[in-house]
């Protein structure tokens, strides 16, 4: 908690970025909060497009409104085994190019139903082991896993949609199901 806060504060002071030179002589800023990932702001934006595709904000809040991109990056940075982290990064860093090649444009240029179809299309493709497609699919699967985890445990979901009760106060072992009552998995 404290480390992230400190990094966030530092990021705010420094404008959120540090500069590192990259091989192609362009300079792209690396988001310092995710020290193992070395992702840039535009890669974070690519991830944002994916999490907004998973949660497009039709009936519920959109992915970005519950900070999903940052949560996915925190989890990918801190909680993924190295091999999965590699797959995640490989897929993320080549995702725009992959999307352009397959669909003629990036997710950013698609509306939410187009990007959803593209997402489903990729996941339905047969991938050979160690192929670019395989890491793209792994990237999407990992992102989906963390996006779902982040969404279902977000303050928004646990207070407004399926309220969580920290203090239930008791337990009933046999309660008649009521047709009228909304089913709340956190209730």
């Amino acid at each position: 908690m404290d480390r992230r806060l400190a990094l966030k504060q530092l990021a705010w002071i420094t404008g959120g970025v540090i500069l590192i030179p990259s091989c192609d002589f362009t300079q792209e800023s690396v988001l310092e909060a995710y020290e193992k990932l070395q992702v840039t702001a535009s890669q974070r934006e690519t991830l944002n497009q994916v999490t907004n595709t998973i949660f497009p904000g039709v009936k519920l809040k959109k992915g970005e409104e519950v900070d999903l991109p940052d949560f996915v990056l925190i989890m990918a940075n801190d909680c993924l085994p190295e091999s999965e982290q590699e797959q995640f990064l490989k897929g993320l860093k080549s995702f725009d190019a992959f999307s352009k090649k397959e669909f003629g444009k990036t997710f950013e240029k698609m509306d939410s139903s187009e990007s959803a179809e593209a997402y489903r299309g990729i996941m339905a493709m047969e991938a050979e082991e160690n192929s670019d497609l395989a890491s793209t699919k792994n990237f999407l699967a990992i992102t989906k896993r963390f996006a779902l985890q982040g969404y279902l445990t977000s303050e928004y979901y646990l207070t407004e949609i399926m309220p969580y009760k920290m203090i239930p106060g008791g337990f009933k072992g046999s309660k008649l199901v009521s047709e009228l009552e909304r089913i709340n998995p956190n209730g």
Partner: protein, 567 residues
Amino acid sequence: MANLNIQHKKENTFDAIVIGSGMSGGWAAKELTEKGLKTLVLERGKSVEHIKDYPTTNLNPWEFEHRGNINEDIRKENPVISRCYAFREDAQHFFVKDTEHPYIQDKPFDWIRGYQTGGKSLLWARQVQRWSDFDFEGPARDGFAVDWPIRYKDLAPWYSHVEKFVGVSGNLDGLPNLPDGEFLPAMELTAVEKYFKTHVGENYPGRDIVIGRCAHITGNEEYYAKQGRAICQHRALCQRGCPFGGYFSSNSSTLPWAMNTGNLTLQNNAVVHSIIYDEQKGRATGVLVIDALTLETTEYYADIIFLNASALNSNLVLLNSKSSRFPDGLGNDNGLLGKFVAFHNYRAGISGEYEGLAEYTTEGKRPNGGYIPRFRNVEKQETGFLRGYAAGFSGSRSIITDHSDIGENLENSLLTPKFGTWRVGSHMMGETIPKEESRVSLDPNQKDAWGMPQLKVSIDYDQNDEAMITDYLEQMTEMFESAGFKNIRTRDDKRAPGLDIHEMGGARMGHDPKTSILNKWNQVHACPNVYVTDGACMTSTSTQNPSLTYMAMAARSVDHAIRESKS
């Protein structure tokens, strides 16, 4: 100089010293201080004060940076503790990491430890089933280990004494193999658990499902208010430490109670090197302590010493307490110290679904579960293996949300969860047989960060355990099928011993000093002012969760020590 030494010795002299502040050490401290003895409790770990030092206790799920997960770096460096079910983001600060206190695994053994005030009593699963004479008479009847020097009648009043104070929720089930105790109102079985109980009762004589007896306050509020504890709120977040004191821990109960007597001195960061034996006096005179932070050593003195450092660490302290009288460790005249260690076999489990009772669900949370008392070989030997197993049994109504798609479909399904079947599950808790080759010893070379020898652990399953796993899975599968449960899956997770966190023995009780380390009062045969009343004392393991028995033994032994000192 001589005056200074006398002064120092006086300051460091107490009526009693308790090594360890966990489940059983806390009880020893409470009983000793209540009887007016100035008592020093030595705790090797950090200070954890009730409520004040429960940093995660009131956090909401979204306030955890990783929503419960453990960082990969920590998992990789600490594979043993990472296998523990409760080592999660909300309670990780209460567990010892592998790297902090290394030990040597001659055979795979997951040693789960909690070094802090209260020890593992902060983290335990809170199940408190009594033993019966079917358990105490096991070794003598079945010809393994040595005969227990005590029987149920010796411990029964102390079970009651402990239960009243800790608060035990349970049902008066009237079962000879699981004696009733001093119970507060029971928690409820769920609809499917009740159904299974009825079905098993009608079809399998001698088998029963009861609600677990658990150390939670469910009534008699005024009495527990005196301890500063309140009724359990069913948060089921116990492992974080409970701000209500709803479940029993040393931190919420025995230690503050002992502190209120004015007779308790609690010292943290105190790693016990050894118990000091005085040959002239023929008794232990004190304890040598290493400061965990500065590594300075200090001696403390007392006439009564209680060793409650946790099963394996108590073995380590005894083995390391060498003198010319006891060159192989305190009380180890027969060379059996550290041997005949055993545990509970938790390897197997089963799950299934029940399509009936669709009109019911549950409400709220239950920090407890159903319990199947041992039904194998209870009255007499009747299977190809010795002893038997108890089992957990729990069932709850599932709620299904389809997470398979993305986009609007996913949002829609999150808004419309549906009731699924009842999900039922069970896990075994098998008695294992203590054997001479199941042992812990001191490594002659490797030391830990405090300069103590590392413990070498050599404990394994045997054919009896394998046969018991097979039988558990067969019997439970048959009972599940007969009850109409569907989609039955069995598992043997092949976990290493230790992950049950029920390791026991090494300094077993017995009648005969030639074949045991402790007598019927938990005194070291050859050094009777040292009492060992934690898991190290256990002659056999039976199937019940052992903490209640340790607490009862601690209280009983204090009573004995005080009667001895008066006579």
